[in-house]
Amino acid sequence: MQTSQYDRKGSCDVMTDRDSPLTEAFFYILLALRRPNHGYGIIQEVEQLTDGRVALGPGTLYGALQTLQKRGWIQIYSVDTESRKKKEYVITQAGREVFAAEMARLRELLENGRLMEGSGDDEVSIVSGQRQ
């Protein structure tokens, strides 16, 4: 049984996405940092992984890296002193835990989502969401 390790902290804060669920950007950045990677490397890897669907803007990525560092989910791996400085980041243990919790949440969604497959159309009335 997967009970979620994440509890809802504080009130629903719309401005800064608190821990759970992870935003798509955070999810993919953490994933790209399972091994050391630098800013532009993250953008490229995420683009590859998603077939170009998720293209991280530099502003979004920069802000996310600051936030993830502050939360202790990622850390600076190395600063290459020779040639050109290129800051590399890597995921921390805390980051891995958050990622695992998110995976558990997604797995639950997916498993519950399967209920839909066995259900007949006539029994279920669909209330359409309003997301474009």
Binding site: M15, A25, V54, G57, P58, G59, T60, Y62, G63
Partner: protein, 233 residues
């Protein structure tokens, strides 16, 4: 080439800079409303405007990060950071998800609120100068007043942008307050500022004519603003 523009709205500014690139002009420098352009290949660059966290300063971290992503920092101005990237490197957008875009606009809005408070303090100072019998003081009052109206309008615009983004993010519908001050009011204030500044140096007749027009515009602007604000409730 030099062009003068005053933008409070960074989205229109970005759009304009990119239109200029389409015409073969790349912005190179900025100073107090003056944009200096250089020739470039039409469509060579994509410009974006970012908002920093400190005045006229970006961290080395930010600088390196942008450089690494192939982005050039063209100009720092106040909190604003004008960036560009060769269009050949693909589409260039700074903020690609709702959360970070909201954060970006929230920072900008906070800055405008700070600016409005400062301007109101200046305005009060100039009112005092005016009371001392100096017409220039009232001219400044009108000028600052016009600027305050512009900033309030921009703050309202950003608020609406943020609300729209939040709707997309949380599936909740927020009600928006549209409309700020009518531009007639702003223009009227500016004209009145000119008229007051001209007292003594131009003929009384001209000053009176400008002032009458200005007052009509301000009154009409105020009326329209109040009516549209009421109509929304």
């Amino acid at each position: 080439m030099m062009k003068f523009r005053l933008y409070l709205d960074k989205d229109s500014e970005t759009e304009w800079l990119n239109q200029m690139v389409e015409k073969g002009w790349a912005m190179k420098r900025y100073f107090a409303g003056f944009y200096q352009f250089e020739r470039c290949e039409p469509g060579q660059y994509i410009y974006q405007v970012d908002f920093g966290s400190r005045l006229y300063h970006v961290s080395d971290d930010y600088r390196e990060f942008m450089e690494d992503a192939g982005v050039e920092i063209v100009q720092l101005w106040g909190y604003w950071i004008i960036l560009r990237r060769p269009a050949a490197d693909g589409p260039f957008e700074l903020y690609t998800d709702v959360g970070s875009t909201i954060e970006h606009y929230t920072k900008i809005r906070r800055m405008f609120h700070g600016a409005i408070i400062l301007e109101i303090l200046c305005l009060l100072g100039e009112v005092w100068v005016g009371i001392q019998g100096e017409p220039m003081g009232y001219a400044m009052v009108c000028l600052i007043g016009a600027f305050i109206a512009g900033c309030i309008n921009e703050s309202i615009r950003i608020r609406n942008v943020i609300e729209e983004l939040r709707e997309r993010k949380s599936d909740m519908v927020f009600n928006k307050t549209k409309k700020g001050f009518s531009s007639l009011l702003t223009v009227g204030l500016l004209m009145n500022a000119c008229a007051l500044a001209l007292i003594g140096s131009a003929s009384d007749y001209i000053v009176a004519v400008i002032q009458v027009i200005a007052i009509i515009m301000m009154a009409a602007g105020l009326y329209i603003s109040v009516r549209s604000a009421r109509g929304r409730q």
